[in-house]
């Protein structure tokens, strides 16, 4: 399988008054046209990994890597202008919270159309029909009405579907979904993930799904990286997550309450055991 993304020894550093803080510490992985999950707690560096692929880490933060290659393009050598042509069109990112990520003073239709027009010139009629078709493919029942609404007029689940529509309309090769459903209800969560899953499969895209929810990641991905304090501590097939070996992964799995919970107390992570190597 041809590699879509190759990362070797990726490091992200932020300067602090007490010296440099390395939040991603030398991670390496490759991605084909498959679904990769990155899990870990807050502060484990999983979002920073996603952002560094898109070169979204601003000074004074620094990104270094021995290799950061997307489809033959060395992302570290791209100028800001060249990166803008890649962002959205080739790699796009679904953010966590639709409330803060959509433009409040533009209608939903305009925003989705803008995502498309930024990257290609198209006649207005075609833009409009593609925008409506995209809204329909994220299962919005009445796309013409919804296109005229503003973000505050739709629910969280619908807002997230709008964002997915916006990210997928330029037909990128790689989608990075950073906690795409953390702000949503369980019932809506499943719907949104099914939509992402279906579109990713149909268009043969690569997906990086960043989340702290192990169960969710294991049911929607092929492969999983578990991150802790900026390092990948475990890599496994999604189906084998429950057989994970690293104490950190085992600790995370054990701390999730179950539907038929019988334990009187949930085990919590003993961070002293492996944090600070």
């Amino acid at each position: 399988m041809k590699k879509l993304l190759e990362i070797e020894n990726l490091r992200v550093t932020f300067p602090t008054p007490r010296g440099d803080l390395e939040v991603v510490r030398g991670i390496s992985f490759t991605l084909g046209r498959e679904r990769l999950g990155i899990v870990g707690e807050s502060g484990s560096g999983k979002s920073m990994t996603g952002r560094s692929i898109l070169q979204l880490i601003r000074a004074p933060g620094r990104v270094t890597a021995d290799k950061l290659v997307f489809d033959g393009i060395d992302l570290l050598k791209q100028s800001e202008r060249q990166m803008r042509a890649i962002r959205g069109a080739r790699i796009s990112m679904v953010m966590q919270d639709p409330k803060f990520s959509l433009n409040p003073v533009m209608t939903i239709g305009e925003q989705i159309a803008e995502a498309l027009l930024t990257h290609q010139k198209l006649p207005r009629r075609e833009v409009n029909s593609r925008m409506l078709a995209m809204l329909e493919s994220v299962r919005i029942a009445d796309p013409e009405r919804v296109a005229r609404l503003y973000p505050h007029e739709v629910s969280g689940g619908m807002g997230q579907r709008v964002m997915i529509a916006m990210m997928l309309i330029p037909e990128p090769d790689l989608l990075i979904a950073d906690e795409p459903t953390s702000a949503l209800d369980v019932s809506v969560q499943a719907q949104v993930l099914d939509i992402i899953d279906e579109l990713v499969k149909r268009k043969g895209m690569g997906l990086i799904f960043i989340s702290h929810d192990l169960n969710l990641v294991s049911s929607y991905c092929d492969r999983i990286l578990v991150m802790n304090t900026g390092e990948v501590v475990e890599e496994c097939r999604a189906g084998e997550l429950m057989a994970a070996k690293h104490p950190y992964t085992r600790g995370l799995i054990a701390s999730i309450p179950r539907l038929d919970e019988t334990r009187d107390e949930l085990p919590v992570l003993d961070r002293s055991a492996w944090a600070k190597a």
Binding site: E41, S42, S155, G156, G157, L184, D185, V186, S187, V188, Q189, A190, H212, D213, L214, N215, L216, S218, S219, L241, M242, G251, L252, S255, I256, P257, R258, L259, D260, E261, T262, R263, D264, E265, L266, P267, V268, L269
Partner: protein, 246 residues
């Protein structure tokens, strides 16, 4: 004895009626969950009890005394609320000490320092956090402060609005253990709103499923564990949760 009883509770925001005819009886020392999807009115019920949604008709009774529509100090001492988002519910320019001490000042209670330290110890916060601001704390520590704030007046009933949904699974486990321990030690009654059925299974005795402002089913958690809910909508919720839990 019933700790909390709701009779024919209809809550409105302006012209829109949010809940219809909600009836609940929660026993003293019980842990009760309200579950349902967003927009089902479950958080609104908590807000009405706490006095944050004053447009209601019906009856709200806490520990035998009915609640009025206005601010009620005696009520505040009996019943307190913990909010969903610890990043939003603490005042960013008040230290932990000021946040915890405010309730004591309002109610004219002395012995401030000792009471603050006592509550901080009971929620597992080290003394060194006492004069820090919320932005200097992690999400789990902030939620501990929010719980400590609710416990300052030694209430009997705690209203919990999705207390762990903004937290990571590992931190969620810590906060859930804390809530369970506090309930045992201080003999608290919980009314918790959540959409996570696994959390209900861990922490609660009974649950009510809400949909479109109505309670469609009240069941024992034992029924939930057996997968024995009756209403079709409750079953649907249960199946979605089961599909994601491995």
């Amino acid at each position: 004895m019933t700790a909390l009883s709701l009779k024919n509770l209809d809550i409105s925001y302006g012209d829109v009626q949010i809940t219809h005819d909600v009836n609940l009886d929660i026993a003293d020392g019980e842990s009760f969950a309200l579950v349902g999807e967003s927009g089902s009115g479950k958080s609104t019920v908590l807000k009405a009890i706490a006095g944050l949604a004053p447009e209601w008709t019906g009856e709200i009774t806490v520990l035998g005394s009915p609640r009025g529509h206005g601010i009620d100090r005696a009520f505040s001492r009996q019943c307190q609320m913990v909010f969903q988002d610890p990043y939003g519910s603490l005042h960013p320019r008040k230290t932990v000490d000021a946040t915890l001490g405010e309730a004591l000042t309002i109610h004219g209670i002395g012995d401030r320092s000792a009471r603050i330290e006592e509550v901080m110890t009971s929620v597992g916060l080290d003394r060194k956090f006492r004069f820090r601001f919320p932005h200097q704390l992690s999400g789990g520590q902030r939620q501990r402060v929010a719980i400590a704030r609710a416990l300052m007046l030694k209430p009997k009933v705690l209203l919990l609005d999705e207390p762990t949904s903004a937290l990571d699974v590992s931190v969620q486990a810590e906060v859930l253990n804390l809530l369970k321990r506090l309930r045992r030690e201080q003999n608290l009654t919980f009314l918790m709103v959540t959409h996570n059925l696994a959390v209900v299974s861990f922490l609660c005795d009974r649950l009510a499923v809400m949909r479109q402002g109505r309670i469609v089913e009240v069941a024992d958690v034992a029924d939930l564990k057996r997968g024995d809910l009756k209403d079709p909508y409750s079953r649907e919720l249960m199946q979605i949760s089961a599909a994601h839990a491995t």
